[in-house]
């Protein structure tokens, strides 16, 4: 059966990963009709939602874990996958379990998670530091300390693209690193607004205020252009998700020698576990529904998980697979995963609305000389609007 699958994976590594999914699906006699939409989730999601609400749904579609598709599920537009999940024992195999929780509404499962992405990485250019004659930092604090020397050597200390989500991501990474896991959890899991307004987070905002000076000279637009600055040694480092290593790979860089990756910015080695999941809009045809369920099962299966995540550079959603072929940085991530040093991602904790508001706020905060106190206050207000 033909199944149209929409997603926004269009970069080199992503496309290769999708090809694995398609290959596996086609092998079972079905046909994967690729509906890639470039430009990231921001561009693609409206289209997907329109089509689902417009009554002309695709067979399956990518969303981020969490609340993005919640209402579609509540409106009864999504296929219930509980039987597939039970048949394939997802409850046991999916790790961390929070991933499946994010797919669960009222006890029913509506999505198939495919990977884990962690945004809290600091990527450093060994070449840049060599040029400046200083050792490569091992954590965020060192990075900040050595920044003036880098600058003196004509480098941009911190590369940061202009797209709003990058500012948000950098803030998230810094906040776990600076505030620490407990505080982070109190705010993002327990939603304790007093803590959010407290001095720990004031320190986070101060840290970002310091960091934004380091990124002042960074004038690129896309995240991969920022990564490219690190690759060429024009910039010291970049805070970016694990997908950045795909870029290093494409540029034939070797982890450890050409570049250094620091999960959790080298301070608090915790990774939040956002990721991608596939949803299956309800369809009239029974054939299609069968195919959808086949695909759902397939996505979580170990073979597909390995093949897909190796290409994608992300972490698998099950703990029982072996990723021997993974590279250095990926292994660091796997280790943390194995240790259970995980926190839920923002996508799961907060509604898109809150996230968007914070994104707006942080973009402004990163790119202007907004006072940290003002930003902090506004940030708390934004969080409160989502309670």
């Amino acid at each position: 059966t033909d199944l149209e699958v929409t997603h926004w994976w269009t970069s080199g590594g992503e496309a290769a990963a999708v090809a694995e999914l398609a290959k596996a699906f086609d092998a079972s006699g079905d046909k994967w009709i690729d509906g890639a939409i470039a430009g990231g989730g921001g561009t693609a999601r409206p289209i997907m939602i329109s089509r689902i609400t417009g009554g002309d749904p695709m067979g399956a579609t990518q969303f981020n874990h969490g609340q993005q598709a919640l209402e579609l599920v509540e409106a009864g537009l999504m296929l219930d996958l509980t039987d597939v999940a039970e048949a394939n024992n997802w409850k046991e195999v999916v790790f961390p379990p929070s991933l499946l929780d994010a797919c669960t509404v009222d006890g029913r499962i509506y999505c198939a998670p495919v990977n884990i992405h962690s945004p809290e990485w600091l990527w450093l250019s060994n070449k840049a530091y060599a040029d400046a004659g200083i050792p490569v930092p091992t954590n965020w604090n060192e990075f900040v300390e050595t920044a003036p020397q880098l600058e003196a050597a004509g480098k941009i200390p911190l590369a940061l693209g202009n797209q709003p989500w990058q500012s948000n991501l950098a803030f998230g990474a810094i906040s776990i690193a600076v505030a620490g896991l407990d505080v982070w959890k109190q705010v993002n899991v327990e939603k304790n607004m007093d803590v959010a307004a407290g001095p720990e987070y004031a320190a986070v905002f101060q840290a970002v205020a310091d960091a934004r000076k380091l990124a002042a000279k960074s004038t690129v637009q896309d995240w991969n252009q920022a990564t490219n600055l690190v690759i060429t040694g024009e910039a010291g480092g970049q805070i970016m998700g694990d997908w950045a290593q795909g870029e290093f790979q494409v540029a034939n860089q070797v982890a450890g020698t050409d570049y250094t990756c620091l999960p959790g910015l080298g301070l608090n080695a915790y990774l939040s576990t956002g990721g991608d999941a596939f949803y299956f809009p309800k369809n009239k045809s029974a054939d299609v529904e069968e195919a959808q369920k086949r695909l759902a099962a397939l996505l979580v299966s170990p073979e597909v998980q390995v093949a897909f995540n190796l290409k994608k550079g992300s972490l698998p959603i099950r703990g029982d697979v072996d990723l021997a072929a993974a590279n250095d940085c990926m292994k660091k991530g796997l280790e943390l995963l194995a240790q259970g040093n995980l926190v839920p991602s923002g996508d799961m904790a907060w509604s898109p609305d809150v996230q968007k508001q914070n994104e707006d706020l942080l973009v402004e905060f990163w790119k202007t000389d907004m006072a940290p106190e003002v930003a902090h206050q506004q940030w708390v207000a934004n969080l409160k609007s989502g309670l």
Binding site: G41, Q68, T219, Q221, K356, E364
Partner: protein, 297 residues
């Protein structure tokens, strides 16, 4: 008799009435209906899907306390005024230059008009590239030996609107030039002659006589350009994504982002409603002048 007459009236010009159906439906269902629907749901807390949970003016309160929205409005006003002034001035100046019985008029006109054939996406991309400090104009000038030369509007919050403007003008002035040229050519030849006999210098004739006479053309242009400005979206997305920071945010982006990325339809609808309100405030006086005034004149 009276009955017969009324039915007669109804069936007269039946075809014309049938032919007007698409227009009537479009205006009523799409424009009026769609707008009303949008306004209505701006009073709900609809998230991803529209729902009738009324929250009064909450969305508006939040909208007007949102600094991104305020920045967007401010940006739109600055950009709008600059864009209107420059498009119309440049369009008019070029039209005047083209009106001087020049050689190669066709060539010049094609050169000025072709950007209009390209979408804002393309326009944004190209100019983003040309204005890119690393290999665009800045690097070229530096390469020529002027090391301290800085021209990096897209990354300077203070200049980014001008960066957009350069691209916007590039795309739109040619069309405005065409409108103006058509207007100039429509002016009675005798007026020119009268001015020459009166000994009025050419520039002064343009400024004091022709310009006021082109009022209708200016109004048409104004409407077309203003409609484009209010819808400004693609160009910004392609060229700056609203950055750096929120320095080049515009209302249409806010609407789109909140409707689809933030999945907060209510907020998006409230912002759209404000945009529509602005349009109405601008348009009603115009419509009154254009259509209402005629009855008295």
């Amino acid at each position: 008799m009276a009955e017969a007459r009324r039915t007669n009236r109804m069936w007269r010009n039946l075809n014309a009435k049938i032919a007007a159906i698409p227009m009537v439906l479009t205006t009523l269902v799409v424009f009026v209906g769609g707008t009303a629907w949008t306004v209505l749901y701006s009073f709900t807390d609809s998230k991803l899907l529209p729902r009738e949970r009324w929250v009064g003016f909450d969305q508006y309160e939040r909208l007007w306390s949102n600094s991104r929205w305020l920045t967007s409005i401010e940006n739109l006003m600055v950009y709008g005024v600059l864009s209107l002034v420059f498009t119309i001035t440049i369009g008019f100046l070029l039209a005047v230059a083209m009106d001087q019985k020049i050689r190669y008029e066709d060539t010049f006109r094609t050169i000025m008009l072709y950007p209009f054939a390209l979408s804002f996406i393309v326009t944004g991309l190209v100019w983003q590239w040309i204005l890119n400090p690393e290999f665009g104009i800045q690097s070229i000038v530096r390469g020529l030996g002027w090391e301290s030369f800085t021209f990096n509007p897209l990354n300077d919050p203070k200049l980014v609107l001008y960066g957009l403007l350069i691209a916007g003008l590039w795309q739109g002035t040619g069309f405005v030039m065409c409108l103006m040229l058509a207007g100039l050519r429509g002016i009675d030849e005798d007026i020119w002659k009268a001015a020459r006999v009166d000994g009025i210098p050419t520039w002064k004739t343009y400024l004091q006589i022709i310009l006021p006479m082109m009022r209708p053309v200016f109004i048409t242009t104004l409407v077309i350009v203003a409609a484009g400005i209010i819808k400004l979206y693609d160009l910004v997305v392609a060229q700056t994504s609203g950055g750096p920071g929120t320095a080049s945010q515009v209302p249409a982006m806010y609407v789109y982002d909140y409707m689809f990325q933030a999945q907060n339809l209510g907020q998006g609808f409230a912002a759209s409603t404000m945009m529509l309100l602005t349009v109405l405030i601008v348009l009603i006086p115009w419509a009154y002048l254009e259509f209402g005034g005629k009855k008295h004149g």
